[in-house]
Amino acid sequence: MSETDVKTSYQDRKERVLKGGQEKYHEKNKEAGKLFVRDRLQLLFDQGLQAEDGLFANVMAGDLPADGVVTGIGKINGQRVCVMANDSTVKAGSWGKRTVEKIIRIQETAEKLRCPLIYLVDSAGARITDQIEMFPGRRGAGRIFYNQVKLSGKIPQICLLFGPSAAGGAYIPAFCDVVVMVEGNASMYLGSPRMAEMVIGEKVTLEQMGGAKMHCSVSGCGDVLVNTEEEAIEYAKKYLTYFPGNYTERPARTAPQPPADFEKTIEEIIPKNQNAPFDMYQLIDRLIDKESFCEVKKLFAAELITGFGRIEGQPVGIIANQPRVKGGVLFHDSADKAAKFISLCDAFHIPLLFLADVPGFMIGTNVERAGIIRHGAKMIFAMSEATVPKMTVIVRKAYGAGLYAMAGPAFEPDCCLALPTAQIAVMGPEAAVNAVYANKIAALPEEDRPKFIQEKREEYKEDIDIYRLASELIIDDVVEPDRLREELAARLDVYMSKYMIFTDRKHGVNPV
């Protein structure tokens, strides 16, 4: 081969690979609002990939450019990040032997470089024709999940789901810290609707069974629902700003910003009536730097809000009861949601802020059958184990095990603060008076009952008065509502040097 031929051959091959699969598949993706994998990477990274490996993977096959996956390293917001991105124009992004090897290698690279790994998933799953090479062995697809588990808590792992993640492939998102799903295109399922019909006789659509909306609002397998791929990429970029590159580093503090402007003060938005709903987002917005909220699982178990924010530039993970939804009562799903979020923040040194306004855990047959005790235990387990700075604010009330789950005094928060109108008790005054005096009330003539009940409720309220709790050192301080942000900022600053090892053991036995 002459020198010119060598060059032409190289350029031809490279160009062909960089174009991905056949034109008809590019057209099909375009119609569905899907970007070409290399365009996705261009949007995601500051200046595209700085290094790419395995570009010529399976080049001898001729029609499998890069073997359907792009792997490489680049910078996002100036921070080094590894990526694996399926190319759905190449055999629908399915996995062959080299596809799997490339994914495993970029995981190993991310581990060595100790930087975040993003998975851009858009794949039909395994190539059944290649199964012996890619499925069962030591470096088969199982290794991808093994590595994900090993990397969990070591480096941030993010999944942007742009298309299907089918069968085994559905476990890539499952082992990531956060999963962003594009409505209409993203899906997760173990067996397709066609398989469901053949094997169990169920007739169902893909959207109903494993669509983005379902997973982000019902199953909880998805964390963030977005309309477009661009939005998904924007979310990932913002999300990464709250995280260090790996567990040995700390999240970066940014320039402090004031909170957004509001007409009403904190004191004005919190109802005096313990039983009335209010919107917890309004409190969060008054405590954090403006536009710094980055929510996780907004549509799932909305009675508990979880998300990242900044206070004077310092990232925090917020866990807040939402009285506007289901009274802010904790359910099995909200406890499960909190457990994962707390564990995520703790792994990467993101301090926790608990905003408690909770009537307790839900009771009744439905939730007992759903295992609310087991799920509640998960939340309490994760919260207890967390060794990052933990700040608890009793906003209006914390009753029963709700106090425990929201990092109450016994769970070693660095501080447990309360607003002046807050109440802490085994149960609220109405329920307590009924529980204690039920027989006595029944024995009274009907006309005397309201007066008696009212008196006992007042006595009870005095008994659980917040200054009494402060006097007994149960809470660490009473804070005026409109000074709360200032107080939290000052405390966050002093808690940053906290160093704590929870206990000495191999590991706990998680109640999962």
Partner: protein, 70 residues
């Protein structure tokens, strides 16, 4: 046609709309009382109230129909 359902188990405390009334997305239509809390139930779409399935004081379970909106 959309059915508005109970978000959790509890008692129907107040029904805030009447049959034939127009409702807007996000408007509170029923308030449940559960766990000593007021639980507002909101309309998920604009429309006209066709039928009210519950009376004040009724016990409802999660996902029970409360109101039908056309």
């Amino acid at each position: 046609m959309a059915k508005i359902q109970a978000s959790m188990a509890g008692n129907v405390w107040k029904v805030l709309v009447k049959e034939g009334e127009e409702v807007k997305t996000g408007q509170d239509v029923v308030i449940l009382e559960s766990m000593k809390m007021e639980i507002p139930i909101t309309a998920q779409a604009d429309g006209k109230v066709q039928k009210i399935y519950v009376n004040e004081g009724d016990f409802v379970n999660e996902a029970d129909d409360l109101i039908e909106v056309e």
